[in-house]
Assembly symmetry: none
DNA sequence: AATGAATGAGCGTTCATTCAT
DNA sequence: AATGAATGAACGCTCATTCAT
């Protein structure tokens, strides 16, 4: 069965997140996965394929679910934060951010994610704050700010040990727009 | 004179920014700097010393200058954004962000920058919005958000081509707190 | 049936001829033959067995046929050239020549071919030039030369695009001996 | 000094001749040369460069020396055989022949050599056998035959253990043309 | 007979680092 | 201070071969 393949991906995910793609050798991956070195290349002909497969199989941007929004804007934004449309472990997020700088596939995925996040935040605000629709520019800034903070949460936490509470940020931005 | 040393650092800065620290060999640095391979190790006994030296000599977090603040909060925040207290070339910024994830020195420098940014934003808001001092938590969120956006702006631009206008964000956050 | 076995040998023959035995992997053979990798080793327990089998089954040195010789020596030599007693495809000939340098089996086969060629040329000359039998040494040189040219013709053509016309060579050597 | 480089080339020459280029690992070369593995790549960035360098530096087609020819054609051909215009050890000749089949550089060198040999043999015969100049075709065959035998001497010897005496061949061909 | 996952030795190559000069 | 040959560990990857099914 695909036990070995999964173990290789698990090990790679952990090691890439911890030390980065370049600094992680295929031998270390095999060791951590407890498989022989050659097997890594049986499943992933090139080392890069391990990274691409991780991004492909372990980050997914969810379809927007169109269930009714909470009527209040802060509540709606809070729900967006809670259901960040990126199904990916913290490890995968770090990998995505780190490798986006040098690997197109990671960059493309991250770009798409950012775009989607902004789009949803904007839409949420438009629907729940009909009065603010007049000031499109302000609304856009708020959406982009919200997306940025959500996106870089993981990185920031790694830097400072602190997180910005998305709920509090949602409240703050809502207040700014009303 | 120290022409060679400077050329080595210049070359390393460009290469680290472009391909990352791990993927840049000392031989390539020497080649790009047009110095013999051995000379790199004359000035920097370990490859890591090149990175440390770059961070040490080419990124600097400015001392808080205590010149009088503009009286209005939005104006004061705007000035903070315009004078991001990080003296570093675009290349050095990319290096700092990229390597912060895996190299302590870069992380420490970036952590310090973030901390300083938050501190200044908080201080600015406290001084210009005396009425808001009562709600320390909200003020903190606003400061942290402002710092985060400033910090990751460069990254985001590299990803998406869009920037969040810091002035507009300053306005938005000010409004939220009043 | 033995469809797979034949396809493996066909693929190996083409690949060995094109890239050489050493530079052809069993995996490539399996791929070209459109059979699973494991099957190659089912039929040929070692990679070398593929080469040995090819030489064994696809090169054959013909038995000397003792049909009456043309009476004139040049005509007789010409017929020998026209019926080079090696039944083998162009691919197999290239394999034989190339691998003879390093693999005993190929060398043995090629040695046998050369010996047979010399033997026939000598015999032809002896029978058709009874007067020349006195000078065995010259006759031997002529026979060996004829054999060499026939043997390396293919190689030379591959190199230079030129062929030595065996008929003309037969004429020339005959004249030298009369 | 270049002691190591020479030892690497010496070792490679012997091993390539014995086992062929593909079947000779760089590790074996280093071992035989008694240098560390890494040094091979210091001098020859790619394994192929070892072969190319050998061909470049250790096979040389000499300029035709225009000293007066012996007046008799057989003597002149004999001298050509004795001074085969290829300065190359027996090892290098085997390498040249073997790798010519798959490596363009070796093929080009061998082609040039063959062409030059034929040219000289033709010229020698033309000068010493003015009467034969009328029959250019026969003269060409004789020259090509002589060149072929000289070229493949080494290979033939490896196959059969026998050599064709070039002097005797020179005599034979001369006789054929007179 | 047929399959493809598994194995580990070995390959060509890279590389940070050392060191004699 | 400056140089480039030397070094050997480690890298990504290939490969013939095995084996359970």
């Amino acid at each position: 069965m695909n036990d070995s393949r999964t173990r290789i991906l698990d090990a790679a995910e952990a090691l890439f997140a911890e030390t980065g793609y370049e600094a992680t050798s295929t031998a270390r991956i095999a060791l951590a996965a407890d498989v022989p070195k050659g097997l890594v290349f049986h499943y992933f002909p090139q080392k890069m394929d391990v990274l691409l497969t991780l991004i492909d199989e372990r980050t997914e941007i969810e379809e927007p679910c169109e269930e009714p929004l909470p009527p209040d804007p802060a509540g709606a934004l809070r729900r967006l934060a809670a259901r960040l449309p990126l199904r990916a472990s913290p490890s995968m997020r770090r990998i995505l951010f780190r490798e986006a700088d040098t690997h197109r596939t990671a960059r493309d995925r991250l770009t798409a994610l950012n775009r989607e996040l902004v789009r949803r935040a904007r839409r949420t605000l438009e629907l729940t704050l009909p009065g603010a629709r007049g000031d499109a520019a302000r609304l856009e800034i708020a959406a982009a700010t919200f997306a940025t903070v959500l996106l870089y949460q993981e990185n920031l936490f790694h830097l400072t040990g602190d997180r910005i509470d998305p709920d509090a940020l949602a409240d703050l931005l809502t207040q700014a727009l009303t």
